[in-house]
Assembly symmetry: C2
Homo-oligomer: 211 residues x 2
DNA sequence: CGCAAACTTGCACATCGTGCAATACTGCAT
DNA sequence: ATGCAGTATTGCACGATGTGCAAGTTTGCG
């Protein structure tokens, strides 16, 4: 009965990982991060303390869980296929739009993570660090799409703006969820961009082209 | 002989703080962050371990030292005085330009901190976290300058771009320092911006204005 | 000089994170 | 099914981190 040949072991590991993550998140939400000890999390998840550290390197990592990849492999390929001539902004939106990214995720868990990241500076720090890694990844993608050997300043700038918009869209969605119920409209990056573009161009465009 | 009435105590504290910072930085540079223990730092700085934690909350904080403020109070006031109609980008540059900010700083220490932040992920995480706080501060300044009650999306976007440019300028300066000697030209934000503007507008401007 | 406030220090304690070796379990081939 | 090889779990020991507390020490000021 090995219908899932490459699977029973993996499944158990994944389950343990999810149990630890859920337990850490729930406890942090209930009692605050400082009151959460690895020991308590392990009691909840029914594993030994030593095993905990085989899965996560700290309780903060356990609370946040594994970082999601930057878009699906297909989405990344499609983005690269756009090439230097494509509509960069539109494709960035397609790659990062929270409405799409959130589709396959557990929204409840995401909302909890966002709430915790606001409350607990240590979680915020880790979150920002991970976001920064994603940002660098996007800068590299932009450079590759443009045929550049390494990401230059403008690539980093584009990535920074994109993540600022995503961050803002997620915050708006989160705030809306807290006030108007759990099922607020999924945020659209395009909308956020449209609302921003005017002020944005106002900041960047009017500069003279220098001779 | 109390020429420095409000001072001997303060001076001693400042000296101890500087000794701890210098010791932590030097040790991390020589032996790597993991090999640095609080105990070793304290031996170097000639204070007790307990006292160390009266000054810094972790060895990472000790290595990085205290975060500098975002511009001088005068520079901040000048930035706000620009008002909604002023040249936002020019004033952001004036506020953040590394060439100006670095003027009053210990460049040797700064270069060491940047090197360490590249080597040690834990230091990078802390550095990014601090940078993010600065970014939020700038977004708030932009909002206030515009007469907005709270920083909206475009303010955050402007701040994100500004810091992406600053970060890039600092990296360029740092890389240049490592190759062409310790006294590389101080980076100019304006130059970085000029080099970026074309690609940037290429990314943002060509989008249709939607009816 | 001498008191009050602030700084330093030692000590105890809970927690974190890792290396190591023993044990238990899973997958696979016989 | 049975046993072997690889992998996961666990306990243990240990060094390091960070904090509360209370005693000692230094500074500022009358």
């Amino acid at each position: 009965m090995q219908g899932s040949s490459p699977g029973l072991r993996e499944a158990k590991k994944a389950a343990t990982r999810r149990r630890l993550n859920a337990a850490a998140r729930a406890l942090a939400l209930r009692d605050g991060l400082d009151a959460v000890t690895v020991e308590r999390v392990c009691a909840e998840a029914e594993v030994s303390v030593r095993t905990f550290f085989n899965y996560f390197e700290s309780k903060e990592h356990a609370v946040l869980g594994d970082p999601p990849p930057l878009g699906t492999p297909e989405a990344r390929a499609a983005f690269l296929a756009g090439g230097p001539g494509g509509d960069l902004l539109a494709d960035v939106i397609a790659l990062l739009d929270p409405a799409a990214v959130l589709a396959g995720e557990d929204r409840e868990a995401l909302a909890q993570v966002m709430l915790l990241s606001q409350r607990e500076p240590r979680l915020l720090a880790l979150q920002i660090f991970r976001l920064n890694a994603h940002q660098d990844e996007l800068a590299a993608l932009v450079a590759e799409r443009r045929g550049l050997p390494a990401p230059e300043t403008s690539c980093h700038a584009v990535a920074a703006v994109a993540f600022a918009l995503v961050h803002r869209a997620c915050r708006d969605w989160f705030d809306a969820s807290r006030t108007s119920g759990a099922d607020a409209v999924p945020p659209s990056l395009q909308d956020v961009l449209d609302a921003t573009r005017e002020a944005f161009l106002g900041a960047l465009a009017p500069a003279p082209t220098r001779s």
